[in-house]
Symmetry: C2
């Protein structure tokens, strides 16, 4: 219903634009365009309000306002056949960062929590960990001290917990962890700390012919365990960091073994590269929440035709967390500076989202 | 039409099987099973013939016979809801090798021909190539001599012709080459040397809810230039060999530059690994033509439930080429030995295919 309405409205816009082109002077054109822009904007808001009033809101957890309208306007114009902004379904690629964009990431990336819990589980097989950092601190429950080892310590823990087993063994271990692990602050299962408004956005895009991808710095094999069930994103649409793997036969049965060699770290400049290698098309829509997503949004926006860049800004200390420029995780600094001039939409979590997490059983 | 017919037939088979299980002695069971197998086979062929007679043949370029029937039988049973072999659409992943499986590969992989032609095109910028092998031989048109340098020489030529440019520049160059290059023997454009029966198979699988992938030792970026138009396989469903790439800004415009570092060579044991890394699901259908595809078929077949492994055997020296165990390209030796005991279907190109290449404008 809202879709047909929007289609008609966009037709009107097109007629207005065509008429404006027949005017004689450049100045008049500019004036007219400014006026028409205001009229078009007014119509757009009127339309969006009407859509809400009709009760067919595709994004019910998003507050009515500029952010929500800009998303709906974009989706409407790229899906309207005959529109100058029309994009064929095959090219409707939307990429989403995961940590901080589709679910929370505080006080620590959830995948790291899995790794630390896994260290405790594996400790009986590694007596040497009792005296070896960062494992010793993890086993004592002193995560802060464990993290003082920086990136190298983290990589050591990830190698110890994410490699040396078959892909199926790893997936089982992650699946079991999700079933019982709870977040220290919210007491929710981690898969219930996904953002309800973003789930709606994923659904909305897919309902409009988009192929939705996750493009995350997180581990590809970790994400794939829950992405399909939780986000509706199938394994083949998950692009993440990955380690090398080896094919081998065990008693005649083929297995794939994860080995301790990081082959792709999907962050910052690597994200557009990952998009190229795994997807092979430039997205027309990209969403992130940190400077690690900057190049993904930049690459997306630099394509021809209508593009949408979205940054989730964590502004809600009560319902989630508030952090940006100075955060140790999910730092958003350059992105905040440049979002405006690059035409990217900043989602103000506190203002724009009616709810953060899905309701229902915790 | 044929689909409904098959569904009913499979129901009958199931009833027959159930009845057979209630028989009392093991021997009687074995006897009955053998008889029922013959009856079922007869029914299957009768069905297939009837299908043909009805003029709704999904694989018109395939000769009527065991190979074609086995494909149709497989697709029918995995798509019939309620069948013990039913596979949900999300899991219907089919992977196809490219060289020798979807198009010809003689006398030389077509991508190598592109590389050699490209050397000639780039020669003015590389005066040193006049005296440097393998470039000197390529420039003299002596490909045989150029190839005596083996794998290293090939890699050097591939690096010189496939890296150092942006992904868009590379795609343009490949696109231009396809537009004018012709095969020395057939005089066809290379994209017209795809196998008509395999195009039908791809279509048939997709019409039955399969997601069709290319999983090739060829370059991912090379394949993506034509895979969508020629095979109906979109870029994001192409898994191939790849080089590293770098994201950079040129006059403020982001580009992705292909760099001379082979990061993934998608052949033999690497194919199941590539399938895992890029697709994240195990296929239920895999097709290849050489020992380089052996592990892909093995990995596919080792999954639970109904699986289909297919080998294209090049047996047609008149219409295409005949080669297998001793070939310098597309060697099929172990695959020929083991296809039978592993339950893989060998396509005898000469016997099973009515036509090789698509008809129409050459």
């Amino acid at each position: 219903m809202w879709f047909q309405y929007k289609v008609r409205l966009t037709d009107q816009n097109m007629q207005i634009q065509k008429r404006s082109q027949s005017l004689k002077t450049k100045k008049a054109n500019t004036m007219k365009r400014a006026q028409l822009y205001v009229i078009a904007l007014g119509l757009m808001i009127a339309f969006a309000n009407q859509t809400m009033a009709q009760g067919v809101d595709p994004l019910p957890s998003w507050q009515d306002g500029r952010t929500k309208h800009s998303i709906i306007e974009f989706v409407t114009k790229v899906t309207k056949e005959g529109s100058p902004d029309f994009v064929t379904p095959a090219e409707r690629i939307a990429t989403f960062d995961n940590d901080g964009t589709l679910w929370s990431e505080q006080p620590l990336y959830f995948q790291f929590v899995y790794a630390f819990d896994r260290v405790k589980q594996l400790a009986p097989q590694h007596p040497e960990w009792k005296t070896k950092e960062p494992f010793a601190s993890i086993l004592k429950g002193d995560i802060e001290k464990a993290l003082t080892g920086g990136k190298e310590a983290i990589l050591e823990v990830l190698a110890a917990t994410h490699t040396g087993m078959t892909t199926e063994e790893f997936a089982s271990s992650v699946r079991e962890w999700f079933a019982t692990a709870r977040h220290p602050k919210t007491k929710r299962a981690y898969t219930e700390m996904v953002f309800q408004p973003m789930l709606e956005l994923l659904d909305y895009l897919r309902a409009n012919g988009f192929k939705t991808y996750i493009v995350s710095g997180g581990g590809c094999d970790f994400l794939r365990v829950f992405a399909e069930e939780v986000y509706g994103v199938p394994p083949e649409q998950v692009v993440g960091s990955s380690v090398n793997a080896r094919y081998e036969l065990r008693d005649g049965v083929p297995v794939i073994v994860k080995i301790s060699e990081l082959t792709f770290f999907n962050d910052k400049e690597a994200k557009p590269v990952g998009i190229h290698q795994y997807i092979g098309r430039r997205p027309i829509f990209a969403a992130g929440n940190s400077d690690g997503d900057f190049q993904m949004l930049e690459w997306t926006s630099a394509g021809k035709g209508a593009r949408f860049g979205l940054y989730v800004h964590h502004t809600d200390a009560d319902r989630e967390w508030a952090y940006d420029r100075e955060s140790h995780i999910g730092r958003l600094d350059r992105g905040l500076n440049e979002a405006g001039k690059r035409g990217w939409t900043l989602v103000d979590m506190k203002q724009d989202w009616k709810v953060i997490y899905p309701t229902g059983p915790k």
